[in-house]
Every structure is written in structure tokens, then in C-alpha cells.
Amino acid sequence: MSDRTILHSDCNSFYASVELLHHPELRGKPIAVGGDSEKRHGIVLTADYTAKKFGVKTGMALWQARQVCPEITFLPPRMDHYLRFSRMAQEIYADYTDLSEPFGCDESWLDVTDSVSIKGDGLRIAAEISNSVKSELGITVSIGVSFNKIFAKLGSDYKKPDAITTIYRDEYKDKVWKLPVKDLLYVGRSANAKLTKLGIGTIGELARTDTRILEGHLGKMGLILWSFANGQDDSPVKVENTHAPIKSIGNSTTTPKDLENDEEVKIVLYTLAESVAARLRENGFRCQVVEISVRDNELLSFTRQRKIRSASNITKEIAEEAFRLFKENYNWRKPIRSIGIRGADLVTDNFWEQLDLFQNIEVREKQKKMDTAVDEVRRRFGFYSIQRGLMFQDRALSAVNAKEDHKVHPLAYFG
């Protein structure tokens, strides 16, 4: 069998690049996307290349970033923007292949083997994709071109930003083997520590190590890593469009006064559920897990989650599940300071599942239609133009809006 042609495309400093496109006045200056600079907390999600030069890294607290780079501008994340750009990038990829597997919202593997005879070799396709993304989206990508997914990913990391790196079968010994072993996908902190102990520092050294030694120290994973290092990765690019490119959508609030009974909690939970469910619908996602987080007035907090029967973005289902979770898990020894809801384990509208015999499909359909109608009314006349009766029992509590104050959690790397 002849080699496959696999591309891995990685949008450089994705969030920061999208923000810079929309803020021409900040280009060339250090910026970071993350946190909430008003409230002066949070972490850096992405820094642009100028800020990276100062030593600003993803995951730093904002104050740390400010310390290494006093000039830095912080921009609050706007996930909806990034998802829009992510979709537009996917549309460009779709011109070349239907075999596209997103990895988070800024990376994708593409199997272009079948396009090579029409569009030219992998390098040529990569160059075309890179140009299209640049002119249509105004951001840059790094692309790795190889014969398997692992090396394609290595290739996109090899040179950044705005670069194309090939790692073909006759090249990988020169290009890949000298790299540190931690660059290999799935070599995390603990595997790296074990390998270091064995005196394995580079991918080449890993490739030449006896598999029995690796198996002894790392188990099955040792064998897998060894085959990766030797370019033996047959895993297909999965046509995977049922998983959302993000992990969860959530919303939490510190209420204007402490909550003291079930009824008050219910009002706040329903308000939060409205915004979480509306955001899920807006992006075409449904959640399979509902999670609540509760913090009492002595700042003791906990979270509880549960898988729901069928994936949902129906406000009522999410709110009811959240309230049920709360009832089961809170004993009212102390009043509550803040409370939150998250919809997690997200799937897209392409996700299908077995219908539940004991659930009334018609009722669900009706609720879906009702939610759509409410969304439409709110889009045209504002959030407060239509409200649940429950909200009128305490206007102060139900005024915690909601949509502006949301959180979207990016996918974890090794999720």
C-alpha cells in the first residue's frame, strides 16, 4: 500500500490572532486573550507572538503576565468569534477532503490522499490551504505534511508561525529523531519523566530502545510510543463531526444577596439554565452532562454532575436536572453565595442516539419549538422581553443576566 498524505493544520495563537484581526491598532504590540481584566483575575488563554517573546505563556495568571510584560494588553475572550472562525477554517478544509478530524477548535487533521491526483501533492495542497486561510480569515496556520497523524502533528509544531513542514518517510529520521521526546503526542509530564530516567531524551533514542524495556516501564503505552517514534501510526483520520470543538458551556453568578431557600435557588438556576441552553442552541450543540457548582457564604464550594437521558439543549430539561442535583446535594446549613450551571460532554446536531421509550418525544419537540420561539423573541426585542413566571417572584435575583456573563471552556489537550 502506498503512503497516505496526512496534513495537520494548526491556527497560530488562534484566539490572539482573531482578536488582532479585529483590533488593527494593537498589531505588533503584546496582547493576551484571557481572564477578566476588570475583575483583575483569570489566566492567559493565548498570547500573541510579541507577548510570547517577553515570556508570556498560556496558563499564566494575568498579574504574572503583566510582570514579565508591563506593556501587555489583555482582551477578554469572545468564544463565539473563535467558533465562527473555526467553522470558516473547516469550510476551507472541506474544499480538499471530507476526511477532517478537528482537535480542539484550532487544529485539524486532514487526510488528503484521494485529492493528491487532482490537486497536487501534499505540500501543494498545504500551501493552497495556508493561502486561503490567510486571505479569507486573516490569520495564519502552520501545517505539517506527513504519512501519518503523529508526524503530521509534529510537523505543524516544527516551525511556527505561518509555515509548512514536510515529514515524509525518507525525512523523518533526520527531522523527527533529533527532537526531544516530549514533543511527541501523548508524551505528557509523567511519561517524559519515566523516559528521562531511562536515559531517553530524543525521539530517535526512543525509537532505538528495546521494546521490552519500554513495556516494562511504561506498559502498553511504551509500545505505542515506540511505534509512533518509528513512524508506525496507522490510525485513520476520523470523519468525526458529532463532537463539539469545545468541552462545555457554563454560566455562574454571585447573587446580589445570599440565597436562603429552595425557591430562591430555583429562580437563579432557571435564569442560568436559560442562558446556558440558549448558548448551546446558538452553536448547534447539545449537552449530555449537567453540572452544578455551589458555594456557600463561607466560600466552601462543591460541584455535582450527572449524565442526562438524552443529549439536550432544552432549557426546561437542563434547569430541572440542575435543580434536582441541587436538592439531592444541599442540606441548607448555610446560605449560598454563588451558584453555577454547566452543560458538558457536548455533541453537535449530527449526533444521533437511541430514542428513549419512556420519554415523550412529542413533548420534547414542543419544548424545542418553544425554546426556538423564545430565542427569536429575545433576539428581536431583548432578553427581558419574555420571561418565565418564576422570574417575577424576585426581580433582583432573576436580573442576573445571563448571556453576557458566560463561560465557554476550551477542550483540554488530553481530554
Binding site: 484581526l21 479585529h22 483590533h23 488593527p24 472562525f85 490567510k134 486571505s135 480569515l137 486573516g138
Partner: protein, 82 residues
């Protein structure tokens, strides 16, 4: 600092074959310009104005100008000389 992204009022036509074509636009000083011809339509980013959309290459007063449809019912242009 003034932005180089100028949102403009646009009169446009939805054609029966499903296309959206701008007919005329109102610049931020109140003058209205007729779009004589659209020579190209493609998705493009405007680095100058800072945005992305469907870019219409328009002939206005015998000059080539870009008009962007952002997709959220908003149209914008780049300020000249920016």
C-alpha cells in the same frame, strides 16, 4: 483614534437565484454612492479595517472599492488612506 472600519448603510437586492447584491451605499459623511458594477465576490479578511466577510469588489465613480458584508446584517468599508 478613529477606526478604519466604517459601517455603512447599504441598499441591496436579493436576486431570485439567491444572490445578494449591493446597489448603493451611504458613506459616513452622508453622501450616497451608486455601485455601478460588482466585479468580484469572495470571502476575504480585511486587515486594514479588521474584520472578515463576503468581499464585494465594487466599481464606484469609476474606482475600485471593497465593500464587505459581515454576515450579521452589517456592511463595512475600509477608510481610504488608512
Amino acid at each position: 483614534m478613529t477606526s478604519n472600519k466604517i459601517y455603512v448603510d447599504v441598499i441591496a437586492e436579493f436576486t431570485k437565484d439567491g444572490r445578494l447584491l449591493p446597489i448603493s451605499l451611504k458613506w459616513d459623511d452622508g453622501r450616497t454612492f451608486e455601485i455601478q458594477r460588482v466585479t468580484d465576490i469572495r470571502r476575504a479578511a480585511s486587515l486594514k479595517a479588521g474584520g472578515v466577510g463576503t468581499r464585494y469588489t465594487c466599481i464606484i465613480c469609476a474606482q475600485e472599492k471593497y465593500l464587505y458584508y459581515e454576515g450579521n446584517s452589517l456592511w463595512f468599508m475600509e477608510r481610504a488612506g488608512a
